[in-house]
Amino acid sequence: MAAKSVPYAELTTLRKRYNRRRLDISKLLVLILLTTMAVVSLFPLYWIFATALTPAASTVKIPPELIPANPTLDNFFEIAKAGGTTTLHLPFVDEPLHIQRVWLWLFNTALYAVISMVIHLVFDSMAAYALAKRRFPGARPLFWLILAAIMIPPQVTLIPLFFLVRDMGLNNTFQGLLLPGLADVIGIFLLKQFMQTIPSELEEAARIDGASEWQIYRLVIMPLSIPALAVTAIFAFQRYWNNFLWPLVITHNPDLFTLQVGLSYIQNGEFGTNYGLLMSGAALAALPMIAVFFAFQRYFVQGLRIGAVKG
């Protein structure tokens, strides 16, 4: 058709104007639909906090209180009691420390997540740098092995790992809880994908200027990888904070439990039907992750994209 052709830019503005006019009804309906889906998706999370703040007597009545009428923190004190108390003998402190286990679980979980995260940041970035930027015999097979390992379900190695850690004498210890998780390879993959995009000229310039190999990694590559390191750190923290199967298998002493294991321990005990109490525990476990999410939201989105790019 040789009719009057519309310039491309004009077509785009026309379409935008047309869309804006059409916005009203159909867009409103879509917005209502999306909001409904979001409300349903968020309801369980909301219900944790609503129930946790509702007095125990009011949780067992019909109709349920959608918004706590008399909000209280009682459930949090109750769950702290339900977990029991333990006595710790700290180094350099003469007085034994009496502490409610729930706070110990919170501490264990944080320690487990933070140590795992820090070690992953150091080791994963080192390996990723070598795999992304350096040529050496064995690099390709190693990378393919790592990629294949991502596919291995953790349940497959669960029992041999349990035996291995037991034979190392680390069953029911914090080291036993910590060590096997450090072999997670997903961070190496994520960081390698990112480091490949850093121009090699930067390293070469540093090398000519006399930087040592360690300095190149530490002073050139690491600072440029901060966005990817942030993503790796957040995902690692989330993975270990929320981890359940391995802590469940390897910790038997209630003083060593993580929050997730402690929660299921309380649920299986005499307070298993006290939902106000259970929800306050769930809230304790969920809150730190929610805070991390709001603080670093854009990194979560970025991380998912880097992960998906491999295609």
Binding site: Y8, K27, L31, L33, L34, M37, A38, V40, W47, T59, K61, I62, P64, V122, F123, M126, A127, A130, L131, F136, L145, I146, A149, M151, P153, P154, V156, T157, L158, I159, P160, L161, F162, F163, L164, L179, P180, A183, V185, I188, W214, Y217, Q238, N242, F244, L245, V249, Q260, L263, Y275, M279, A285, A286, M289, I290, F300, V301, L304, K310, G311
Partner: protein, 301 residues
């Protein structure tokens, strides 16, 4: 005499000087990888051919697999796991695609708010989420039966009725829009050049045509990725079952990982548990492979 030739020494020194840093950088991760992934994987194969208990270990060949082949509980777990994985994959892939497509025309901040809302439920642990579902499903004071009561529907024993329990667990999974999928699909949708749509519009394609012939084909690699990760996640279902039902009532919600856990750590039959784990591994590997074959794309853009 076994004198090492000087040339060889020289070459080795050269090799060492050139590559020592590379090996230094990969050493910690590689050691951990070998010790805690490669070696246990190898052991998992060996264990599955043994009768291993608390104080015994004996080579029994294929006995464990024979037992599983004839075990109705294993068949039940296999079926339940497939049912769960099937519904999760189909429903999560579809709902995340629908939500991402619906979100696309809105402004950046509206999209960001919704992406955040859909992603938020996924930052807490499955244990936490399962605990609240246990409460929502509670027969007498749970929220779901309260809503049904308002509609005049008699109360349902969501997790206590063996005919319903598995479906309740499926329900608890699929009513939550998968935030991961929404974020990934949104990113992929944003990467499709708008010229394609403009051209199609000029040619007279309507909204459905544009979805069918531009959006869906170009999203194929993303769909493949999501289908694969959701399949893997679906087959690995454990925490929900462990917290909500423990595999009951009368094993009606037993899944493969729950069965692995119970066989190993309640029945102390580690060999048999390893055999189940290998079956799970084989299924996941097979499905990932098939999905790559069926869905892998010949589109490039």
């Amino acid at each position: 005499m076994n004198a090492v030739s000087p040339a060889l020494v020289q070459r080795a020194t050269l090799f060492w000087n050139r590559h020592k840093w590379s090996y230094f950088f990969v050493l910690p991760s590689t050691l951990l990888f070998i010790l805690f992934i490669v070696y246990p994987l190898f052991q998992a194969f060996l264990l599955s051919f043994q009768d291993v208990g608390l104080r015994r270990a004996e080579w029994v060949g294929l006995k464990n697999f024979e037992f599983l082949f004839n075990s109705t509980l294993f068949h039940k777990s296999l079926l339940n796991t497939f049912v769960y994985a099937f519904f999760v994959v189909v429903s999560w892939t579809t709902s995340s695609l629908v939500v991402a497509v619906l979100l696309q025309p809105f402004s950046n901040w509206v999209r960001a708010v919704f992406r955040g809302a859909f992603y938020l439920p996924y930052v807490s642990s499955v244990v936490v989420i399962s605990l609240v579902w246990l409460w929502i499903f509670q027969p007498d004071f749970g929220f779901l039966n309260y809503i049904l009561g308002l509609l005049g529907i008699p109360r349902v024993l969501w997790l206590q009725d063996p005919n319903i329990a598995l479906w309740s667990i499926v329900l608890s999974t699929i009513v939550i829009i998968p935030g991961t999928g929404v974020v990934i699909y949104s990113a992929a949708l944003g990467a499709i050049p708008t010229e394609y749509y403009d051209a199609a519009e000029v040619e007279g394609a309507n909204a459905f045509h544009r979805l069918r012939f531009i959006t869906f084909p170009l999203l194929k690699p993303t769909t493949l990725y999501l289908v694969v990760i959701y399949t893997i996640a679906g087959f690995q279902i454990f925490e929900r079952v462990y917290v909500m039902t423990g595999g009951g009532p009368v094993n009606s919600t037993m899944t493969l990982v729950q069965l692995i856990y119970r066989t190993a750590f309640s029945d102390f039959n580690y060999g048999r548990a390893s055999a189940i784990a290998l079956v799970l591994f084989a299924i996941i590997a097979l499905f990932s492979f098939l999905q790559f074959r069926v869905l892998s794309s010949d589109y490039e853009y």
